[in-house]
């Protein structure tokens, strides 16, 4: 119980300090672009009504989910293939490094040229493409870094290639895959917003743009807060999924550390 309280205290401590600092630091602000936190919080409930959540937040999250999902599937599939084949790896490594080094936001206008600014396609492609590289590269490393003993043992047990993939290779690489996916998720959230800033009409990023254009500055800040909250929520969900799927790995690490 005390451990739980301590963990909660740590988790909430810094946000509480920051919010307090923001509250008092902005309390007497007369600058319309930096309204007091109190004003921002007061406009929150009237701004983020159910209609707006359905119209702007859900579509954004759906696009993020689809884009991220595509990146996971593609990244793991391609990453496994490249990780298993030294030839493929030698061929693709320079290309992968090239694509990885391109900042994903730069791609938004380029992707819009063929997928359009306004529809879902361009936005999903942007998110998927940005999320792909960390997952792909981590999968390659995870698969390549598998202990040879594991593979040899699986072979000597005459496991079929499919079973080897499902029961040996993917689980063995999963800690790295999750590390990549976690990185991708935060990139995905950024791209979700950026893809809606260009050709804005609906979505969380577009809503923030619209508030700025109409000088509804406190409302704009509430949008930024909603974004942050979504980030926290997604990270929490990700952590829960990761803890479940990597329970063996977490346990193993703890034993290794002698906890």
């Amino acid at each position: 119980m005390t451990r739980f309280l301590k963990a909660t205290g740590y988790a909430l401590g810094l946000p509480a300090i920051l919010l307090t600092a923001w509250w008092f630091g902005s309390a007497n602000s007369t600058n319309p672009f930096w309204p007091p936190l109190q004003t921002i919080l007061e406009t929150f409930p009237t701004t983020w009504t159910w209609d707006r959540i359905v119209g702007d937040v859900f579509p954004s999250l759906a696009r993020l989910g689809i884009g991220f999902g595509i990146a996971v599937v593609l990244g793991v599939a391609l990453g496994t293939a490249i990780g298993l084949s030294p030839t493929l790896r030698a061929l693709s490594e320079p290309v992968l490094e090239f694509f990885r080094a391109i900042p994903p936001p730069v791609l938004v206008p380029i992707i819009a040229l063929f997928a359009g600014y306004t529809g879902w396609l361009g936005k999903i492609v942007t998110i998927a493409l940005g999320c792909l590289w960390p997952i792909l590269l981590n999968t390659v490393e995870g698969v390549r870094g598998l202990e040879p003993v594991l593979g040899d043992t699986a072979k000597s047990y005459h496991l079929s290639p499919w079973r080897r993939l499902v029961f040996v290779i993917l689980p063995g690489a999963s800690p790295r895959i999750f590390a990549g996916a976690r990185q991708s998720l935060s990139i995905g959230v950024i791209l979700m917003v950026i893809s809606e800033l260009f050709g804005a009409n609906r979505g969380l990023g577009a809503a923030i743009v619209q508030f700025q254009r109409s000088f509804a500055i406190p409302q704009m800040w509430t949008g930024v807060i909603v974004l942050g909250l979504i980030g926290v929520l997604l990270a929490t969900v990700f952590k829960i999924v990761e803890n479940r799927m990597l329970a063996w790995y977490v346990g193993q690490r703890q034993i290794e550390r002698g906890v």
């Binding site: 600014y117 306004t118 990139i187 959230v189 804005a200 000088f215 942050g228």
Partner: protein
Amino acid sequence: MHVQSLSVRMRTALGAVAAIGVLALTACSSDGGGTGSSESAEPMESETGGAMMETVDVTVGLIPILDVAPIYLGVEQGFFEEEGLNLKLELAQGGSFIIPSVSQGDYQFGFSNATSLILGTANGVGLEAVGPGASTNGTEEDMAAVLTTADSGIATAKDLEGKKVGVNALANVNTATINQMVRDDGGDPTKVTFVELPFPDIVPAIVSGDIDAGQVVEPFRTAGVNQDLVSIGSNFLAMSPTFMIAEYFTSSDYAAESPEVVAGFEAALAKSFAYATENPDEVRAIVLTYTQMDEETANAVRLPGWPTEIDAASIDLQAELAVKDGMLTDIPDLSNLK
């Protein structure tokens, strides 16, 4: 475990910070238009016999459209230099991008549609008009148009219901006047979906089918017509034959601090307007220096009106339209914009 979960939060926080950073950049962007050209006048040369006048550097935020051509001409003709001003011209996507920069003192002057200035004023941003920006030329050959493809099935404003319409910025004079066109045509403006795109991207987006229609001014109107787009009318002319779209403005703080600079800018601006009205050929030539237009397009563009005085009726009308669209609840004191 603690360490791990903290690192997740850190990443999330960093992600959020990065996102906010991007938003802030967009909000204050001075380079939305992407044509990126900026000019500055030559420094004053000392004049024999006269006392050397001290020049003041001022930055002006503009949109890369034909409407702002007089200020480029004014710099070229030395009107601003005569007032002791050394102008640095910066381009942005729309007035709502420029207003924050002027308000925060990054720019001393800016060009913006009056609707954005009214919304800024209503939300506590201290702004003061220094002169008219541009108006419709008052003829059927207006320089603004709502363009669409010939086979889009959009013939009048009411047909925009349920369609995607590109505008350079959401919640500005263009959305307000298009909504009014739809209303006047017996339609429901809430059924129109507006999409924000930089002016140079609107025509390509209509041609590619990404949007159904789009509002443009010159030189993009001519470029669109050259690509077989058709106009369903000018959203400015539809308001009134003397409808004033935009204004040049400064912040209330700067107006109070440097009244001489503001007076000098106003005087040079008035000269520039008169010069532009008298020399349309020079307008056509100078537009090539800050947009990506070719000479043929520049020769075909229709010129806007450059009025000598602020049209107060247009300010009142834009305020009323802002209320109708739900962008404003009450009309604030707009005397600073008239």
